[in-house]
Symmetry: C2
Subunit: 185 residues, 2 copies
Amino acid sequence: MSEETRRRDSAATRQVLRDAAIELFAERGYDRTTVRDIAARAGVNQALLFRYFGTKEALFEDATAGHRREETDAPKLVAEMLGNLLDPSSSARRDQVLTALLRTLGTDDEAAAIRERLNAGYAETLATLTDQPHAALRADLVLAWLFGISLMRGVAATQPLAGADPAVVRDLVLPAVRVLLEKSS
Amino acid sequence: MSEETRRRDSAATRQVLRDAAIELFAERGYDRTTVRDIAARAGVNQALLFRYFGTKEALFEDATAGHRREETDAPKLVAEMLGNLLDPSSSARRDQVLTALLRTLGTDDEAAAIRERLNAGYAETLATLTDQPHAALRADLVLAWLFGISLMRGVAATQPLAGADPAVVRDLVLPAVRVLLEKSS
DNA sequence: ATTATCTATAGATCTATAGATAATGC
DNA sequence: ATTATCTATAGATCTATAGATAATGC
């Protein structure tokens, strides 16, 4: 609202920089996002980015951190994640982080940070989904599928997947996932 | 062998540039690969890259083009693709192109070229795999899975998927894919 | 004579820093 | 007095081009 006079507030400035960064990293990936773009979108001076985060890399790591998943009922997780990924209106923030990670995968410098976030945010919870042998591997495979779908829909935008009805996608994916994660009860 | 004296040969020079380019694009993605890197690996002068391809972008498109899949028996395709993706020794060339495309997905400028190559190279053939409704969508979903696996193994290198035995991965993935592509016969 | 290759560099970035200015809290 | 913010710029890239040089084929 009162955009005109912004009080001096280093915490707020840090936060608008983080917000602008995650948006731009999601839109363009790490390399194509410049520190000046970030500062411009945040509406703050570009030098402040370095004052508060040190380097562009540190800002990336800060901006994509801290989205550890809440512990949740395992069987519902896949459906929920799929819903998040498919529905553009839901949970925009987590989607942005995921998209930023996917778009930045090509950047070796960030590979370690990306691995850690993917693992902490998603794989750990998924691994509790099955009691079959290779539980962690099964979880990774499910995750790989969700990322592949997200990648082709959101980043590559290949048709028909990018334009498909989320409900149809879900109804196709879930039975196949069920085969992979089937409990031997 | 006789590296020392290379005859002047524009066709050969174009080809070593293409080869070096696809290697580096697969290793680092589009943005992190510089034209000087490419020329250095090819062992030719950097100005020749522009003489023969005009721009870096045109070189990318040239180097990733022309790997249209041979028409093949549909049911075997998924297993074969999976084998290609998982086995590091097989079909290094196609893997390089795929990896280059995956690593470059973040680059909007190349998005159209990438879409076209993924579609022409993989999705079209996969779409013949099933007679169920949403055949093309099912094919895209399988493709998304293969890409996701390739991405997590080769690019993000997340464990345990990155270190998993290819045979185990195949045995987990194929039954789930079968559910998705099941013919109604 | 033609054309493949090389030298040298323009011009446009981009990250990061040093140091000046100005708004706040005591 | 402290510290948030801004100005100005260093220094290191990167893509692309103009024009010189040198190896080939007739």
